[in-house]
């Protein structure tokens, strides 16, 4: 009987949480979705949507380019202090994004290195590249974690066999590891992109919130909320929610495929 009561309690708690999320998200969607079509004629929303898509895609691509070799290093090599290296790389995961943004702002704005970059035209403070760097900095550790776990699940002897069959180490990675972790990569990219397009705290610190300049969707929500333009807020919010839901569905579909394959084995 005690078990039955516990079960009912657990299910009720789960149902209550689900209702809270559905109602709060649904409230925005019900009010916001009808406004999206109308707001899509507004140059500000179009600008912020385009900039959000551009910066999130670029930062996600950068995350992939960096995460693959880093994950390979952490999963395949035996380096002195490997555990410490892995922990340092995970630090941004443990910090609030706004703190990451402050770190980047001080790094690019106040250090000799940042000033040197600025002098050669690579200015990240209050610029679009700053948005990309902020998204990259906040998201790359999670993609590294996903890819590292995937690589650790691949038997290193498969690479060894590929080497004895004529592949150099890069070919062995491309022909064996990469196909085996393809789904993990796609799932990781979807999550990374979904997080990048919604990143606000770090972006606000590094790139600021300037209309028609560094205005991505989350910034647009912040600016329009400040000025009381609720229609614009609801439209931007609805777009971000839809992007999040689509990312989640795509991720779950891929994760499901992986599970099915594992079960069949």
């Amino acid at each position: 009987m005690g078990g039955k009561i516990t079960k009912i309690f657990n299910i009720l708690i789960t149902g209550a949480l689900m209702c809270l999320i559905m109602v709060s998200v649904g409230t925005v969607l019900v009010r916001g979705l009808p406004l999206v079509v109308a707001q899509m004629r507004e140059p500000e929303l179009i600008f912020s949507l385009k900039l959000s898509l551009f910066t999130s895609l670029v930062s996600t691509a950068m995350c992939l380019l960096v995460a693959v070799p880093v994950a390979y290093t952490l999963s395949r090599y035996r380096l002195p202090g490997q555990g410490i290296i892995a922990s340092i790389i995970r630090i941004p995961l443990t910090m609030p994004p706004i703190v990451s943004g402050v770190c980047l702002l001080l790094f690019f704005g106040t250090t000799v290195f940042g000033e040197a970059l600025s002098r050669i035209g690579m200015n990240f403070i209050f610029t679009v590249p700053g948005i990309i760097i902020a998204q990259f900095f906040v998201n790359v550790p999670s993609l590294i974690t996903v890819l590292k776990a995937a690589m650790e699940n691949i038997d290193v002897r498969l690479e060894y066999v590929a080497r004895t069959l004529g592949c150099n180490s890069l070919e062995a990675f491309l022909r064996v590891d990469l196909p085996l972790m393809r789904k993990n990569i796609v799932a990781g990219l979807i999550l990374t992109w979904g997080k990048a397009i919604g990143e606000f705290g770090a972006v606000l610190m590094v790139a600021g919130a300037t209309r028609f300049r560094t205005e991505i969707l989350p910034t647009s929500i912040y600016l329009n909320m400040a000025t009381g333009d609720m229609n614009a807020v609801m439209a931007s919010t609805s777009i971000l929610i839809m992007i999040g839901i689509i990312s989640l569905v795509a991720f779950e579909l891929l994760a499901g495929e992986n599970w099915e394959r594992t079960r069949a084995l």
């Binding site: 590929a162 592949c167 196909p179 085996l180």
Partner: protein, 368 residues
């Protein structure tokens, strides 16, 4: 350690490799072009590491590897192109059998017509043409082994490295693949290096055997030598000699004897001083009457079925001697515990080998 004289096709010269707490020490071998060479050793002895070093997958800390006239010590695996087959096959799970087998040919951008020809040849040879569209996850252990063999053979390697290829198979599949390996070796004439912990597998397949224990080669020789004439206690123990003792060699009337408790056993050896000696349980003859040579009187301690054999333990002056007999149509053996019996050990089956540690000066024999 004994080597065949002359230059081998593949030569390992004083290889050393430290990996974590484990160390492979001073490995030297001369391997001939067409021999079936078995590296025999217990789990954790460094067999797989040695194979990986030969394949170029692990760099040595010191020492050299030569293939014919070439020093290949620094050659990467893709340049050596030695076939490698792991115990669990390590088939690529994302590729079907056909793509697994043709992997090396595609890497080398071989013409599709030649790929097809080579594929047909190797699948016919191994009888796996019906498996080509299947994925590794759907194959049985024996089928996986054949596919892995085909994948290694299709690139016509000069050396084929086999890491415990029979260990994961059931008895019928193991027998079938053992015959197949022997047949393939005769057919291809390539150097095959096979590592295993199973000495019966080594005896049935090998032209020569090396025994590796704790990262060091302790004996290299022909299967009969390893089996019947182990040169160290570790090898004798590993190949199942079971009766291993220590004694001083005494010479009387020009003949040599070792002492077993109060008895003397005639032996054929060049060694003198304190030695180890061993004899296989299969070579012990049990008799109900005293025999003229090398006969020890004892009492049957226990009799037990041991697979297809009967294992009899005889206590001779407080020391156990193990004898092994093939079962014979359910006939009764007159060996029941407590019964007096004579153990006869012919001089030619007693293997005398040097004592590795500081041996006692006392002449009395004792069980190790």
């Amino acid at each position: 350690m004994r080597y065949r004289s002359g230059e081998g096709f593949l030569r390992l010269c004083s290889l050393n490799k430290k990996l974590g707490n484990f160390e492979l020490r001073n490995i030297s071998l001369n391997l001939e072009r067409a021999e079936y060479f078995v590296v025999l050793g217990p789990s954790g002895a460094g067999k797989t590491l040695l194979l990986e070093i030969i394949a170029g997958l692990q760099r040595v800390d010191s020492g050299e590897t030569w293939l014919g006239e070439n020093n290949i010590t620094l050659w990467p695996p893709e340049k050596r192109l030695f076939g490698f087959m792991y115990q669990d096959c390590a088939l690529f799970p994302h590729l079907n059998v056909k793509d697994n087998i043709t992997f090396s040919l595609k890497v080398r951008r071989t013409h599709p017509r030649i790929i097809k020809k080579e594929l047909d040849e190797v699948v016919d040879l191994l009888g796996i043409s019906h498996l080509l569209e299947r994925y590794p996850a759907t194959l049985s252990g024996g089928e996986k082994q054949r596919v892995a063999l085909a994948r290694a053979l299709v690139m016509k390697p000069q050396v084929l490295l086999l890491d415990e290829p029979l260990s994961a198979l059931d008895v019928p599949a193991r027998e079938a693949l053992r015959k197949e390996l022997k047949h393939l070796h005769k057919l291809t004439g390539m150097l095959m290096i096979h590592v295993t912990h199973d000495f019966t597998e080594a005896m049935s397949l090998a032209d020569r055997v090396a025994v590796i224990v704790d990262g060091a080669l302790v004996q290299v020789g022909y299967p009969d030598e390893i089996f019947n004439r182990p040169q160290s206690r570790a090898v004798a123990d590993f190949v199942g000699a079971q009766n291993i003792f220590q004694s001083k060699v005494i010479i009387r009337n020009g003949k040599k004897f070792v002492l077993f408790r109060g008895s003397q056993l005639a032996v054929e050896t060049d060694l003198e001083g304190t030695v180890n000696f061993s004899f296989r349980p299969e070579d012990v003859v049990l008799s109900s009457s005293r025999q003229p040579v090398n006969c020890l009187q004892g009492v049957v301690d226990s009799v037990a079925r041991h697979g297809l054999f009967t294992r009899v333990v005889v206590e001779v002056e407080g020391t156990e001697i193990v004898a092994l007999f093939a079962l014979n149509g359910g006939s009764e053996y007159p060996f029941c515990p407590g019964k007096p019996i004579f153990c006869v050990i012919p001089p030619k089956v007693i293997n005398v080998f040097p004592c590795e540690t500081d041996c006692s000066e006392h002449s009395s024999a004792y069980h190790l």
